[in-house]
């Protein structure tokens, strides 16, 4: 057993920032991550960090833009915290040596971004995330913070009071990928989940293979609700084979989308008669999919993004990196042929419900980064708002866990008297339960309050048994099959197009995945670096997370931000100005709602049309 004051699970931008903050606040902190820190997906972010740094800009404008961008589903206290703290925390990165791009006078550069009223996106070339991740890891090295890399966290060690609000988290159970041994990590002061996005729930995503929503699933099973999971951002131009992003800049420069019949469908099929290819992301993504579904896709899969007419000179001058991406990852030369593109899952706005201090409703359990939902993105994330979320809320979670006083949060968490219960939606299948009897959830002990160590030990035991079981079973289904089926179900039915029928189909398929999962086995008999085992466990997390996404998409019958429903294609403020929350209760999801907080520090953000 290992013991530390604060255990941070995940070493992407959010996890590293939390660890440094906890260390600065005097705690003995350890990072436990399934990847070495510099391999985290934060490294893929390109664009930049929004921070109101300059004359003429201030946090209030940034807050206003963010509320508007969120389609009024973000909580004002969270948004204001983000926009107030981001400038200072961004400058801290600079002080740590982050190689930001520079202005003539030597100050950090900022650029304009979609949905922002001021050019406040601070960037470091086209690889802001890479630099952010590395500079933060450098700080971890500098401070000598303990890193357990290639340790896969399987479960939380949480007490099992009936009311999740009374539960307490005492640590995590992890297994060492290199050796296969399962160990407990006791956290005296808190556990911070910073496990990143759940992109792998979809077949086609810009997210890394490691983005499997482990933190979501662990917190969920421990009783912390997941919030607004149905809000998934899709990017219209990602490469079909890998999901690598092709910048919107191509369309900005005049790139044209064609279907298989060579039609410029954005106009010819009337998706956006005025703006064509430059319509907003969700519009373009839906248009592309409609083309494919109606049989006009190339190879029934994608459409073409053509920039050849821009001429070699202009392409080389402005879009050269696109040429390299298409060449390296798709084997296509953008100068002589059009590039294949299709919509790809890109970002999850929802996540583990937390307050401004990063705390969940479970004592001692925190979440930060993409896996958390303080609710700053609401229905739609603005470009450049995820990275500041990592540093602002990562830092706050770290400090709070280490015992710093950050004041009373205004956002409430967990099931309480301010929520509204879901009443009507009819579910096609019984969600949850199946396949989840072994391990997970809370350390069941019939309410007997064992000490922290006892709870952790029991959870370690159960995790060991779970691993042994998976390893010893030698026939059955392999996870890859189940994962593929799950991903296809999500991409087919819970993608940018959502219909009641479709989402229900997805739920049925997810149910099938659960049932199949009961027969899952790990073929690789070795304890050494068994990625088969790791992926098998991840697949189960994906099932849980996918189910919450689909459930959220089913109940929310409106069109808001990135979530579109055929049956009700308007933003329905009257009925839906509220967060969807799904919590795991005795093996079953429970759905409830909490109103959005639109009252800021000294003003209220009145919902307006989201037009630019």
């Amino acid at each position: 057993m290992y013991e530390h004051d604060v255990i941070v699970v995940g070493a992407g931008g959010a996890g590293l920032r939390a660890a440094v903050a906890a260390d600065e606040a005097g705690a003995d902190v350890a990072l436990v991550s399934k990847l070495h820190p510099v391999r985290s997906h934060t490294g893929a972010a390109e664009g930049g960090i929004n921070a109101a740094l300059r004359e003429g800009d201030d946090w209030e404008l940034h807050a206003y833009d963010t509320m508007k961008g969120s389609d009024y589903l973000a909580d004002a206290p969270a948004v204001e915290t983000l926009t107030q703290d981001s400038p200072e925390d961004t400058i801290t990165l600079e002080h740590w040596g982050m190689p930001f791009s520079r202005e003539e006078d030597g100050r950090v550069s900022q650029r304009p971004f979609g949905g922002l009223s001021f050019p406040r996106t601070t960037y470091a070339g086209a690889e802001t995330g890479h630099h952010l991740l590395h500079v933060m890891y450098e700080q971890v090295v500098k401070r000598g913070i303990q890193v357990y890399d290639e340790w896969y966290v399987m479960d939380l060690a949480t007490t099992d009071e009936d009311d999740p609000n009374e539960r307490e988290c005492h640590g995590v159970v992890a297994y060492d990928v290199q050796s296969g041994k399962v160990e407990g990590f006791k956290a005296n002061d808190g556990v911070i989940l910073a496990t990143g996005g759940p992109g792998q729930a979809f077949d086609h995503t810009t997210n890394a293979v490691s983005c499997t929503g482990d933190g979501h699933a662990m917190a969920y099973r421990a009783g912390a609700p997941l919030e607004d999971m149905e809000f998934i951002q899709f990017h219209p131009t990602s490469l079909p084979s890998t999901g690598v992003l092709i910048s919107e800049g191509v369309r900005g420069e005049g790139g044209i989308l064609y279907n298989n019949d060579g039609e410029r469908f954005m106009f010819e099929h009337g998706y956006a008669n005025n703006d064509g290819e430059l319509a907003s992301r969700d519009v373009v993504a839906r248009a592309e999919l409609t083309e494919v579904q109606e049989g006009r896709g190339v190879n029934d899969e994608y459409v073409h993004l053509d920039m050849r007419h821009l001429g070699e000179e202009r392409i080389l001058d402005r879009l050269e990196n696109i040429l390299h991406l298409a060449e390296d990852f798709e084997g296509v030369d953008g100068l002589i042929e059009p590039m294949p593109v299709k919509p790809g899952q890109h970002y999850a706005m929802g996540g583990i419900e937390v307050d401004e201090n990063g705390q969940t409703c479970i004592n001692g359990l925190y979440a930060a980064g993409e896996c958390a939902c303080v609710s700053v993105h609401g229905g739609n994330r603005l470009g450049g708002n995820a990275l500041p979320e990592l540093i602002v809320f990562g830092k706050r979670a770290g400090r709070h866990a280490a015992g710093d006083d950050l004041g009373e949060p205004q956002i409430r968490t967990g099931y309480g008297d301010d929520v509204e219960d879901e009443t009507e939606t009819e579910l096609p299948v019984q969600p949850g339960s199946a396949g989840l009897d072994s391990s997970g959830g809370v350390a069941a002990d019939g309410g007997m309050t064992a000490d922290a160590e006892g709870i952790l030990e029991r959870q370690v035991e159960s995790a060991r048994e779970h691993v042994d079981y998976l390893m010893e079973k030698d026939t059955g289904v392999q996870h890859a099959e189940i994962r593929q089926k799950l991903q296809n179900a999500m991409t087919d039915y819970v993608n940018v197009f959502r219909t009641e029928e479709g989402v229900k189909k997805a739920l049925r398929l997810i149910r099938e995945c659960r049932e199949e999962y009961q027969d899952v086995y790990v073929d690789d008999p070795s304890r050494t670096f068994n990625t088969d085992l790791q992926q098998t466990i991840e697949t189960r997390n994906l099932i849980d997370v996918a189910e919450t996404i689909a459930l959220g998409a089913l109940v929310r019958n409106e069109f808001r931000g990135a979530h579109w429903r055929q049956e009700n294609q308007i933003r329905d403020d009257e009925n839906w100005l509220k967060h969807t929350l799904i919590s795991w209760e005795e093996g079953e999801p429970k759905i409830f709602y909490r109103p959005v907080i639109l009252e800021g520090e000294d003003k209220t953000y009145e919902p307006k049309d989201r037009s630019y």
């Binding site: 990847l35 703006d275 879009l319």
Partner: protein
Amino acid sequence: MSTQQQKPEQPESQEAPQDPEMKGAESPVDEKEKETGEIDQRTADDGELDGETVLIKVFRYDPEVADKQEPRFDEFHVPFEKGMTVLDAVMYARDHYDSSLTFRHSCRQAVCGSDAFFVNGKQRLGCKTQMADLEHPVRIEPLPHQEVVKDLVVDMDHFYDQMHTVEPYLQQDDLPTGDLEEQRQSRENREKIKMSTRCIWCGACMSSCNIAAGDNEYLGPAAINKAYRFAMDDREDEEVKEHRLRIIEQEHGVWRCQTQFSCTEVCPKDIPLTEHIQELKREAVKKNLKFW
């Protein structure tokens, strides 16, 4: 449409365009390959490969499994698709033929640095290498000169240790105190360190270097490049720079480099490693001459 219909956004540059730096320099490595004809012409190859299967030979080793204790090569026939990378091929083999096939990978877009393999005798990133660019059958092995943990997974600890040895973090306590006041850095200076900051810790360079293979204590190109990144950063003071030069001019530092250039050739981020190492050698000599 609905109230939701939005006006065209500015090209939302999340993955944004206007910045000149986005247009990564023409990769010298690619050029080299084209010149030496080491790589077949893709267009000719594509036609041949489309709809066919390609053969990959993958190194297998597992200390725990009886018939894998003695390393061997396994062959997999993988259906070829346009745009298929080496990583796609091994993933296909794993998901369809043998789930115990083990390798590190994550981002699939050349930023996480997990999947440097030894492909057809050269260190390359699996996700950044097109199958169509290679001679077939394709031989895939773990990085040489690092201990193999299992299959394509090598022990990276030594690499990380070397990286940590050069004190890889900005050392500047004298920070501007003003509200939201950043340290100033000239564009030229940022440009100077730009390439060096691109390292993704893939370890390809270290694995390709014969000297690093022979001398386990040699810092290796990646760590020296990391040192360069800070030594050349004007935000650090002169004394810190001297301290950094002292680290890299240890016996197992820059002097060990024999300018073999293989590091520079394999680096997937096109970092001019040899150039950086040589520059540090000269800096170190200059510094020493000052004291003579």
